[in-house]
């Protein structure tokens, strides 16, 4: 449904535990959907604030992901770089209901030009 506030992007079991998958947005910024060890789901724009590395390909540990390019750690909760590094990547609201992942339409389309 085009008008829905939340977009259904598929079953949560399609996400690897402690891993991520990508959600391209035509004409916009690709989103990375993360799955943590305890089953929580988070979404960030798939670009490290440092050198735009694909965060979806990083190692997920606790509630953070380490970028595959230069090892920046990014909080999945706030999108902020952790430790000494400074930077922030947009967080996209996401929720799981009835085993399916829903992403906020407004924020998902925001980067779209």
């Amino acid at each position: 449904m085009v008008t829905a506030e939340w977009l259904d992007i598929g079953p949560v079991d399609q996400l690897p535990v402690m891993g991520a998958r990508t959600l391209p947005v035509q004409g916009g910024e690709e989103i990375a959907i993360f799955h943590t060890a305890n089953g929580d789901v988070y979404a960030l724009i798939n670009k490290c604030p440092h050198r735009q590395g694909p965060l979806s390909q990083g190692i997920v540990h606790d509630t953070s992901v380490t970028c595959p390019l230069h090892n920046w750690s990014i909080s999945l909760v706030t999108g902020e770089a952790l430790g000494e590094d400074k930077g922030c990547v947009p967080v996209i609201p996401v929720k799981v209901e009835g085993g399916r992942i829903f992403i906020s339409r407004k924020e998902a389309l925001q980067g779209q030009r």
């Binding site: 449904m1 977009l7 402690m18 998958r21 959600l23 305890n38 050198r51 694909p54 190692i59």
Partner: protein, 831 residues
């Protein structure tokens, strides 16, 4: 008759057991020993209760002497049965259970009792003190059960001293909303001046605690159990638990009832003997020269004097100057001596507001009389040492406040080893266990040449670990270069306190075969590790248990998970294997076709004699691999901590200088070694003559063909730190080359730390060690070679073929796609 005199100790705490340890160290056969303890457990480190409350340690971690210690030393422990009376005339003690035991010598180590302020409600259930493990359990239970309506629980801590703040910190970490009520205007006013107290208050407030200073408790309110605290100004603070931490008093009831001389504490002489020559007393329960002590450090000195007195050695206790450290993680506070100022006292103060640092050293007549440090306490021990020694500091006064490194003239580059060398023998290294520099040095001299050996030998740095750096520096100072290797043995990462070697040993010993099992068995500090330890653990498991371990793809770096090299734009590069750098027109055609079909934006000849296709999308990887497989090519592992390439020159088949078939040997070597996962990438080269066109002298394993056979070279590296190879040995046949190569790789696989190239590994263990294992020990070499081939039987499978056939296809696909202007906004499961 040879009946030994009976020593009875009342108190199974830190003082009682330490005194017994000191006596045993002097004369293990002097007494039969019985220890009575009120708590139903073995002897533990009471000052480490704070980390237990904070969830940073478990009870097992803070046990000082376990049951085996009592048994080994023939000590009878009567725990959970407190002594209720002493009869000095008949020399017996009676316990609560009614048991009566005779003594020849009696030692009172009854410690102190928490002071309970006499306000209404002080006896309500939910009012606790912070003195033993039962108190900690009550606090943990309160934190767990939360507030009355299921919300966050609230706690009030009465008393903003050392103990109260540690309790507040622990409760706060356990998820409670904590209010600290402190009567005085400054927190920890006995240890801190106003400025440091203010910094501390602000730090604690920023962590969410409510700090009420100048607040006087009127009443603890509640109906049948604690519900809150009312202050004299009328304010009321709700709470489901109230921790009373306003102070402690020497526990003297038993002594008083027995008619011993008691002032503020049980009065003792310089060898801790009470007014009855057969009764000793030690620890917080005593009064010596008009002083009572509530900190742990004086106890160590008292126990030494007591034990010396019992073996007729004169070593009078002369009182203690105490220092204090707050055990609240992330807050460094240190204080020692007198900082009340007064006549002739001069202050030297350093403040660094940005870094939140405050240092104040109080000097009288060129001698340090007190120090207060906040934010940076690294020099606390040094100031304390100068204070205790009463050193004249006139010469270093100008630089004194900048700390030891600076004042000793070294400036910022001062050597920490020199710093520990300059400490006096009585300087305290480990505050938790009262270990001086002299004791640590004696322990090292006695053969303890590693951190672990020192920890088990004299307990320095064995409790909270904050002095680990000092102990390591002492080891380096005592052993010089001999310790250089040990100092590299840092914990794997911040998730664990174990070294790489510890972890690998545990994986084999405990037969751990998957990452969660390792983390559980070795008490990892983090729930699922970090990006540093997880790939290392995954490698250690696959190396230790080939074919049996459980592989965790999520613990692989992206390149090894995707079997291609990620590039800065998020696309990948693809390198098919070219055995020994040899290719064919067919392979080249297939590579050219693939480059066209998948729009490779660059085709590059690599340094390892093969071709690299750049700019391939992750979605296209399985298809390009299928195409390359169809032409007979497999993964080149250019992306892995693995065997990369075997570089060759053309050798005797074509070259007029060639001495052997270097190309053919290179191909055989690559066919034997490909697919092997290693601690880091691994490169091999074979040169057909000493002109060395294949650059074998900067490879992990290099082979140089000579007329008489083959020179085998190891540990070369052409990276940031250029390192030429070392000659391992010379062999005569190709088969020997292959066997030695397999053995060397297996030794490296089993013993190097993850992410160590062969060069730093060999520098650490020494070439002689490698020669001994690979060259001298023929049987050992054969075992290593066999283990390598066993591992290879599981690893030599082309990962590309599996992916091309559809394995793990979701790794290459998006979960869905959003097309804002398409009829279906979301395409789920889009490929």
């Amino acid at each position: 008759m040879n009946r030994k005199p009976h020593l009875v100790v009342i108190g199974n705490g830190m003082a009682g057991c330490r005194a017994v340890e000191e006596i045993l160290a002097r004369d293990p056969g002097k007494f039969r020993i019985t220890i009575f303890g009120a708590e139903p457990r073995v002897n533990y480190n009471r000052i480490m209760l704070s980390p237990v409350l904070a969830g940073e340690k478990s009870f097992e971690d803070i046990i000082i002497n376990d049951a085996a210690w009592y048994a080994d030393n023939g000590i009878t422990l009567v725990s959970g049965d407190p002594v209720v009376a002493i009869d000095r005339a008949s020399r017996t003690v009676s316990a609560k259970s009614g048991a009566t035991v005779g003594y020849d010598k009696l030692m009172l180590a009854t410690g102190s009792d928490p002071f309970i302020i006499p306000v209404p409600g002080k006896d309500l259930p939910g009012v606790v003190t912070f003195r033993d493990l039962d108190d900690v359990d009550k606090m943990l239970a309160a934190a767990k059960s939360g507030g009355p309506n299921g919300e966050q629980g609230s706690a009030v801590v009465i008393g903003g001293g050392l103990l109260g703040l540690e309790a507040a910190h622990g409760l706060s970490l356990q998820g409670m909303k904590v209010t600290v009520i402190h009567l005085m205007p400054t927190l920890m006013e006995r240890q801190l001046d106003e400025a440091a107290g203010w910094l501390l208050k602000h730090e604690l407030e920023s962590r969410g605690q409510v700090i009420l200073t100048g607040a006087d408790t009127a009443e603890i309110v509640g109906n049948g159990k604690v519900e809150g605290v009312r202050l004299k100004d009328g304010r009321e603070i709700p709470a489901s638990i109230v921790v009373m931490a306003v102070g402690i008093r020497p526990s003297t009831t038993l002594a008083k009832e027995a008619g011993l001389a008691v002032g503020r504490g049980i009065q003792v002489d310089d060898h801790m003997v009470t007014s009855d020559a057969n009764v000793l007393a030690v620890g917080e329960c005593v009064e010596h020269d008009g002083n009572v002590y509530g900190l742990v450090a004086p106890l160590w000195d008292m126990c030494r004097s007591l034990a010396d007195g019992l073996v007729d050695t004169i070593n009078p206790y002369r009182g203690s100057v105490t220092s204090t450290k707050l055990k609240v993680s992330g807050i460094d506070v240190f204080s020692a001596g007198d900082f009340s100022g007064g006549e002739g006292a001069e202050d030297i103060v350093l403040r660094d507001a940005t870094r939140g640092i405050y240092k104040r050293v109080i000097v009288k007549q060129d001698r340090i009389v007190g120090a207060v440090l906040y934010g940076d306490t690294a020099d606390g021990n040094w100031y304390f040492d100068l204070l205790k020694r009463q050193d004249d500091i006139a010469d270093i006064r100008d630089a004194l406040i900048f700390g030891q490194a600076f004042a000793s003239g070294g400036g910022a580059s001062a050597n920490p080893i020199d710093a520990v060398a300059a400490l006096s023998d009585d300087a305290e290294i480990c505050g938790c266990n009262g270990v001086s520099k002299g004791t640590v040095m004696a322990c090292i001299d006695g053969g303890a040449h590693t951190l672990d050996a020192v920890r088990s030998g004299c307990k320095a740095s064995a409790s909270c670990g904050s002095c680990t750096g000092l102990v390591e520096n002492l080891l380096a100072f005592a052993l010089g270069d001999e310790f250089a290797g040990e100092r590299d043995s840092k914990p794997m990462c911040k998730c664990t306190s174990f070294t790489h070697e510890d972890v690998r040993a545990a994986i084999l010993e405990k037969e751990l075969k998957e990452i969660p099992a390792v983390m559980q068995a070795l008490s990892w500090h983090t729930p699922d590790g970090c990006s540093s330890c997880r790939p290392a653990l995954n490698y250690y498991l696959l190396c230790a248990w080939p074919g049996e371990h459980i592989e965790d793809p999520q613990s692989r770096f992206v390149n090894e998970r995707m079997h291609a090299n990620i590039q800065k734009d998020g696309t990948y590069s693809v390198v098919p294997r070219m055995w020994g750098g040899v290719t064919t027109p067919n392979e080249l055609r297939a590579i050219a076709d693939a480059a066209d079909k998948y729009q490779a934006r660059l085709v590059k000849v690599t340094g390892g004699q093969r071709l690299d296709l750049f700019g391939i999308k992750k979605e296209d990887l399985p298809s390009i691999w299928a195409d390359l497989n169809a032409a007979g090519m497999v993964s080149g592992h250019a992306y892995g901590k693995a065997l990369r390439t075997v570089k060759t020159c053309v050798g005797s088949e074509w070259c007029r200088f060639g001495t052997q078939d270097s190309t053919g040997l290179g191909i055989k070597t690559e066919q034997m070694t490909w697919g092997s996962w290693m601690p880091h990438k691994f490169k091999i080269a074979v040169s057909g003559c000493p002109r060395n066109c294949a650059e074998a002298t900067i490879k992990d394993f290099g082979i140089i063909c000579v007329d008489s056979g083959y020179q085998l070279l190891v540990g070369g590296n052409g990276g940031i730190h250029l390192r030429g190879t070392d000659l391992l040995c010379t062999v005569e046949t190709e088969q020997q080359v292959l066997d030695y190569c397999a053995a060397f790789i297996q030794l490296y696989r089993e013993e190097a730390r993850y992410l160590d190239r062969t060069a730093p590994w060999i520098e650490r263990v020494g070439l002689d060690y490698v020669k001994q294992r690979i060259v001298d020990d023929a049987q050992g070499r054969a075992v290593l070679t066999a283990r390598f081939h066993h591992a290879q039987s599981f690893l030599q499978k082309d990962p590309w073929a599996a992916r091309a056939a559809g394995e793990e296809k979701e790794l290459h696909q998006h979960i869905a796609e959003i097309r804002p202007f398409a009829p279906n906004l979301v395409t789920v499961g889009a490929a």
